[in-house]
């Protein structure tokens, strides 16, 4: 069966520090991969999505970037975090847009 792993679960970082969040999927190949951000009590904001290795589509211009170095690995990065980067970051995968999305447990990021 397919599983999605996302880590770390919580992270507290100072303003201006770098960020790396990792997401891996097991049990499937060539999935569509997604990074979302959710502010407290709010909806899901799509940040990046990828339909294949090295193919990244950015939805929101900001100081975040994403990479897909391997088929089932999706990484969210930042060189310098801002206070506004705080939130709940969710990784998700689907086989295609006619299939359900499966979400990881998320990372709660607090910027101090």
């Amino acid at each position: 069966s397919q599983t999605i792993h996302q880590w770390p679960a919580t992270l507290v970082q100072p303003v201006g520090s770098p960020l790396s969040l990792e997401c891996t999927v097991e049990g499937t190949s060539n999935p569509n991969l997604y990074w979302y951000r959710q502010a407290a009590g709010r909806g899901l904001q799509l940040l990046f999505y990828s339909v294949g290795i090295g193919q990244i589509s950015s939805e929101v211009p900001q100081n975040l970037s994403a990479s897909r170095p391997q088929d089932r690995q999706f990484i969210l990065s930042s060189k310098k975090l801002l206070l506004s980067d705080s939130g709940f970051y969710l990784c998700a995968w689907t086989q295609d847009t006619n299939q359900p999305q499966h979400f990881g447990d998320g990372t709660r990021l607090s910027i101090l």
Binding site: G41, Y49, N98
Partner: protein, 114 residues
């Protein structure tokens, strides 16, 4: 701007009552999915609607997809405390620059009073 709108944003329901949350898109959708997120958790898939006018039921939950494939609704009957959470719709837009991505509504946060 946001292309999938969801109302209401909040819903306070007495246990045993019914309620409905609505999802509206400015463009035609290829399909629409519904998710439930419990407090502190991640969204979990509930159902997918594909066909125009489609209606699906899951126990006390009834999902509808509009004839024009631009709107959808989730109706819950006899609300229980286990229904607490935020319900999201997610549409796949039928535009050439939207291939591969989902557009989420802002969600309806449901609070149930015993």
């Amino acid at each position: 701007g946001q292309q999938v709108m969801q109302i209401p944003q909040y819903q306070h329901v007495q246990e045993g009552e019914d309620f409905t949350t609505y999802c509206n898109s400015s463009t035609t959708l290829s399909n629409i999915q519904w998710y439930k997120q419990r407090p502190g958790g991640h969204p979990v898939f509930l159902i997918q609607l594909v066909k125009s006018g489609e209606v699906k039921k899951q126990k006390r939950l009834t999902f509808q997809f509009g004839e024009a494939k631009k709107n959808s609704s989730l109706h819950i009957t006899a609300t229980q405390t286990t229904d607490v959470g935020t319900y999201f719709c997610a549409g796949v837009l039928m535009t050439t620059d939207s291939w591969g991505k989902f557009q989420f509504g802002a969600g309806t946060q449901v609070v149930v009073t015993p």
